[in-house]
């Protein structure tokens, strides 16, 4: 391949690149001219594009482009458009009586879908993304409700919250810390009685004495049969659900120190339709009454 004349393919007469594999030489066939113009065209287009649209990075930010386009503005437009589309159904939901709202009503479907988003943004931090709660934060999926599980009761709880200073209508109740009232032995007796209510291991003799203490000190809120009272947020002590744990140590701690959680008044933070939406969502998670 040293000879200059052999740089041309004998059959086509085309110049070769000089590359040779197993006797096959690579031809240096010229590109079509239109291909070159297409390349130039894309370069011109590319430069024009960076002038028309945000492109060149500067020290603070980037060039804005002659068309004034921004993805942020586009998202804002999209949100505004969807909000405008939903304005009618949102107003229907905001003024709806949830207890009479049919499940086939488009406003119901809209509420459940929208409520899921409201829940994830505002409620899941305490109640969990799956609404299963945690120690001290109620599970919203089960059939036990401290303050009631009907649509009206859930809406009230969401709107006004629990034991907060912002809303005068917030649910309010406080269990005394019996550590100041009972002796250690009395706390033990009461604990055995509470354990007996839910069928757990207990000392029968201690529980018998605890029953007397319970009737005198606890039954006013928790009820004679310890089934709780949703009007004062007193939990049912005879079921299988324990907000702060159901072991002997947990129950002893609860009696000694008392426990109660707080919840913000969401009526002060969310729109009417958001409150109703999240109410509908919570109600259909499996525990709604």
């Amino acid at each position: 391949m040293a000879d200059q004349s052999s740089q041309h393919d004998p059959i086509t007469g085309t110049e070769t690149t000089g590359h040779d594999w197993d006797g096959i030489t690579e031809l240096n066939t010229p590109l079509p001219r239109w291909w070159l113009w297409t390349l130039y065209g894309t370069i011109v287009w590319g430069i024009g594009y960076t002038i028309a649209y945000p492109a060149w990075p500067l020290i603070n930010g980037a060039t804005e482009g002659l068309l004034g386009y921004s993805t942020r503005a586009e998202v804002a437009e999209d949100i505004a458009r969807v909000d405008a589309q939903n304005a009618g159904i949102a107003a229907t939901l905001a003024s709806a009586d949830l207890t009479t709202l049919s499940r086939d009503d488009p406003a119901y479907q809209f509420g459940v879908s929208g409520g899921a988003a409201v829940f994830r943004a505002n409620c899941s931090q305490c109640h969990g993304a799956g609404a299963a709660g945690a120690v001290g934060y109620p599970n919203l999926l089960d059939d036990a409700w401290l303050w009631g599980g009907t649509l009206a009761e859930i809406e009230y709880t969401v709107t006004h919250g629990i034991r907060n200073d912002q809303d005068d209508d917030a649910h309010w109740s406080e269990m005394p810390a019996f550590g100041d009232i009972f002796s250690d032995e009395e706390i033990g007796m009461t604990t055995d009685y509470v354990l007996s209510l839910s069928g757990q291991d207990h000392d029968a003799a201690m529980a018998e004495q605890g029953a007397v203490l319970f009737a005198e000190n606890c039954a006013s809120c928790h009820g004679d049969a310890a089934l709780g009272d949703t009007s004062v947020g007193a939990p049912n002590l005879a079921d299988a659900i324990w907000l702060y744990g159901g072991s002997r140590a947990d129950i002893e701690y609860s009696i000694t120190n008392a426990r109660f959680g707080v919840m913000p008044a969401w009526g002060l933070r969310l729109s009417d339709e958001d409150v109703k939406a999240v109410t509908l969502y919570i109600h259909q998670l499996g525990g709604g009454q």
Partner: protein, 487 residues
């Protein structure tokens, strides 16, 4: 230019002449002459059928009942449905489309191994539309010689009139091409009116515009450049052909030495070097140079040469469908072998078998395809819920599919440990209504009483059945129940 093709000739000139050495070559205009013959007739027939299918298909009506579109072939992107006469494909059945693509691939392997670039020569849209554009060009400007004269002539009023007529007709064809495409994606009669009354969606107009531009440019001006430079298929096909593949070839042992027979000279071959084969070639090549990448095997040179051979009283087939393996045999004086000999061989039969197998599997899948379906997504946040009486509850999101053209009630049934019971969110019974040709989401609870085996155990197997209350069709999905043991 002799034995060199236009393309190679230009390239060679550009590269061998040091004074005119350029890395880029302008397109050499090609003026394929009109030709008559059996392959030309076949190509006209294929053009009529393929274009007919393309333009007419979206206008065929097919009654599917009140809730569904009545267009026989419709790709409904907004509602994610594909309709083909009596078949309706949902997105989750996209494997049918994948299967058809596999069949299309195997079909191309089959045709390429048997007949070379028969797709390129007869059915490729680029070939069909270019052929149509060439037809218009000949009707307006006349045949090859007139076109060459017109190209060289000054811009006289006649030339301007002919050019404008040609371009207008091309543009009308291009608009009709782009316009027909969008009818596959919406109700054709309605969209037709909408397009003209400016009521159609912007995407419909932009699609028509893009396809109009590509049809006009590719069919009118780019033509063979698309095949040579833009299409990957010629390169792929070259790898799929073998010595027994039928391609268009020149019987050089019969034709050479070419030239007109003169007195007092030794007898020459059958080729009289009339250039008919070169003049009719839409790719601008000379088939007598042998197999080359530009050849789309449209067989028009066969027709052109056969006509000449008839006139000079020689046998047809100087240019013919031949396999590489035929050449040494025929050179040694053997008789030509039948085309069927090359078509029926192990390789093509294996491709046919694979293609048929794929088709049978798809047909079988199509016939056993249920009209109702269920998918189960167990809710795993949380794994389970403890109820106040100590029972353990699992929740499942069920997607119910109803492909009937009317709303249907589905009844749920649970098969598993006898202690478990079923409850539907928002329903009092075990039935739920699914809208016509749609899906619905239903949350389902399975409850195992306190102390029962599934409640205290680890994972228990269960099976959900749904039954269409009208037709009695049933479908099921298996899932798992999480007991306290999973904690």
């Amino acid at each position: 230019m002799g034995a060199q093709s236009h393309f190679q000739g230009r390239a060679a000139k550009a590269m061998t002449d040091p004074a005119n050495s350029s890395l880029y070559a302008a397109r050499e205009p090609i003026f394929p002459r009109d030709v008559k013959g059996k392959f030309r007739r076949l190509k006209w027939a294929i053009m009529a059928v393929t274009l007919g299918i393309y333009y007419i298909m979206p206008w065929i009506r097919w009654d599917r009942g009140p809730n569904l579109p009545d267009q026989a072939v419709l790709v409904d992107l907004a509602n994610r449905r594909f309709y083909w006469f009596w078949i309706e494909i949902w997105p989750h059945e996209f494997y049918f489309v994948a299967g058809l693509l596999i069949m299309a691939g195997l079909g191309l392997f089959l045709f390429t191994s048997a007949l070379g670039r028969v797709w390129c020569g007869y059915t490729c849209p680029q070939t069909v539309w270019t052929d149509l554009f060439l037809l218009v060009e000949r009707k307006v400007e006349g045949d090859r010689n007139n076109q060459i004269r017109l190209l060289k002539s000054k811009w006289t009023p006649r030339k301007i009139r002919l050019r404008l007529t040609k371009w207008t007709l091309w543009l009308l064809i291009a608009v009709a091409t782009g316009g027909a495409w969008v009818f596959y994606f919406a109700d054709a009669p309605k969209l037709f009116v909408d397009l003209f009354t400016l009521q159609a969606a912007p995407v419909a107009y932009s699609t028509v515009a893009v396809l109009t531009a590509t049809t006009f440019i590719f069919g009118g001006f780019m033509r063979e450049q698309v095949c040579i430079y833009m299409c990957p298929w010629p390169r792929i096909q070259a790898a799929m052909m073998d010595d027994d593949t039928l391609t268009v070839a020149y019987r050089d042992w019969r034709g050479e030495p070419r030239g007109k027979a003169r007195k007092n000279e030794a007898p020459k071959g059958d080729c009289i070097d009339c250039m008919a084969c070169v003049n009719v070639c839409p790719m601008g090549i000379d088939i007598r140079d042998g197999q080359q990448m530009e050849c789309i095997t449209c067989a028009l040179c066969i027709d052109a040469c056969d006509e000449i051979m008839g006139k000079i009283g020689k046998d047809r087939g100087l240019i013919d469908y031949l396999a590489l393996s035929d050449k040494p045999r025929e050179r040694d004086g053997h008789k030509p072998r039948s085309a069927w000999f090359h078509i029926f061989r192990l390789r093509t039969m294996l491709y046919t078998a694979a293609w048929s197998l794929c088709g049978l599997v798809l047909l079988y899948a199509l016939f056993i395809r249920p009209a109702i379906d269920i998918t189960v997504a167990p809710i795993r946040n949380p794994q389970f819920v403890t109820l106040s009486d100590g029972a353990i509850r699992n929740a499942y999101d069920m997607r119910l599919r109803n492909k009937h053209g009317e709303a249907r009630a589905f009844e749920f049934q649970l098969v598993g440990d006898a202690a478990m019971t079923l409850r539907l969110e928002g329903q009092t019974g075990l039935e739920t209504l699914v809208p016509a040709d749609d899906t619905s989401l239903q949350r389902v609870y399975v409850i195992a009483p306190a102390g029962s085996a599934p409640a205290t155990g680890d994972r228990s197997e269960l099976r959900f059945w749904i039954e269409d209350m009208v037709s009695g069709e049933r479908a099921y999905k298996d899932s798992l129940f999480n007991g306290k043991g999973t904690q």
